[in-house]
């Protein structure tokens, strides 16, 4: 496996695991509070919808010329990566609340319990589960498609995504509780760094730039983005906190 393939698999695995943890928390909250069959039906329907998106967009991406594909994919990954990285920097610097699965689980359970009960099939549980899995899964589906199409290895990207979902589901079913001990904030930071690096690499290449050393430039690029992000965390953390009125 080449360095680029390892990075691809790692990026997809981490991104997918993070999103799967978030979707699992919501489905678990709705299932335990409301109605498991409806929550699972919503999960299944969203998974089917995601499969349709992948099946429809996958072949469309592969017919694009390589240069155009790299610009489109690089632009998308760079946009996603910068958004992930910005939030991760703010969280690491204490400027944004950290993601807490237990708190989210409690909030989702309270909301689900307060919603009106339904006789028979629980449309609320179906809709909430469907929305959670679809929204969390959509970005992962794009990441799998774009990484896979660009590296001509959709199989590897899909396998990494499937492994991540299986790991999260396995751990979640074993614990039957939100996966609060998964280092989600650190994983999001890593995903942000990797997506930003791949986005820059492919986007610039698609725009006509030649990287010194070709694909070997990816490693140093990841290191530069990581160091810059860590420097930004340190700088933001060092700023004075706003004064709170007594």
């Amino acid at each position: 496996m080449s360095g680029a393939e390892v990075s691809l698999a790692l990026s997809v695995f981490l991104a997918c695991a993070v999103e799967a943890v978030e979707a699992f928390t919501i489905v678990l909250a709705v299932g335990t509070t409301r109605h498991w069959p409806a929550a699972l039906a919503g999960t299944g329907a969203a998974t089917l919808a995601l499969a349709v998106v992948v099946a429809a967009l996958g072949p469309a991406l592969t017919v694009l010329p390589l240069g155009v594909l790299r610009v489109v994919v690089g632009g998308l990954l760079l946009t996603f990566g910068l958004q992930w990285l910005r939030k991760a920097i703010l969280r690491a610097a204490g400027a944004k609340d950290k993601h807490d699965e237990e708190a989210i689980f409690a909030a989702e359970r309270a909301e689900a319990a307060a919603a009106p009960a339904a006789a028979g099939f629980d449309a609320y549980a179906f809709a909430i589960s469907f929305k959670a899995v679809l929204l969390e899964g959509l970005e992962v589906a794009f990441i799998v498609l774009t990484f896979g199409a660009n590296q001509h290895d959709v199989g590897l990207a899909a396998a990494a995504a499937a492994l991540a979902v299986a790991a999260v589901l396995g751990a979640g079913l074993a614990l039957r509780a939100p996966l609060a001990r998964v280092p989600e904030n650190g994983m999001k930071f890593a995903v942000g760094v990797l997506l930003t690096s791949f986005g820059i690499f492919w986007g610039a290449e698609g725009a006509g730039a030649d990287w010194p050393g070709g694909e070997a430039a990816l490693g140093p690029l990841v290191a530069v983005i990581l160091l810059a992000a860590l420097a930004m965390v340190a700088e933001v953390r060092g700023r004075a906190a706003p004064e709170v009125a007594a």
Binding site: E22, V71, G74, G75, L76, L78, T79, F80, L82, Q83, L85, R86, K87, I89, L90, A93, G94, A95, K96, D97, K98, H99, D100, A103, I104, A107, L138, E139, T196, G199, I200, G203, A204, G206, A207, G208, A209, D210, W211, P212, A217, L221, V224, I225, A228, A229, M232, V236, R237, R239, A240, A241, P242, E243, V244
Partner: protein, 73 residues
């Protein structure tokens, strides 16, 4: 769901929470293409633009006085 809402949802998905970063991504790749078209070396440009834009979007951020863990996504 109306076509307008679908379009809004797609835009929101692609652009994300901060449109400045989507714009920065487009500028980084666009500028690289322009400099390459002029026959100059431009591999360094996209990282510089992306990191500068990221830095710029963080300029107003401050650590909160009480950085408790909550439920932000």
């Amino acid at each position: 769901m109306s076509p307008r809402r679908i379009l809004a949802a797609i835009t929101d998905f692609l652009v994300g929470d901060d449109p400045r970063l989507a714009l920065a991504a487009a500028v980084a790749i666009g500028l690289t293409a322009v400099v390459c078209a002029l026959g100059l070396s431009a591999w360094w440009l996209a990282p510089v633009v992306a990191l500068a834009a990221l830095w710029w979007t963080l300029r107003g951020a401050r650590p909160s006085a009480t950085s408790a863990s909550k439920t932000s996504s």
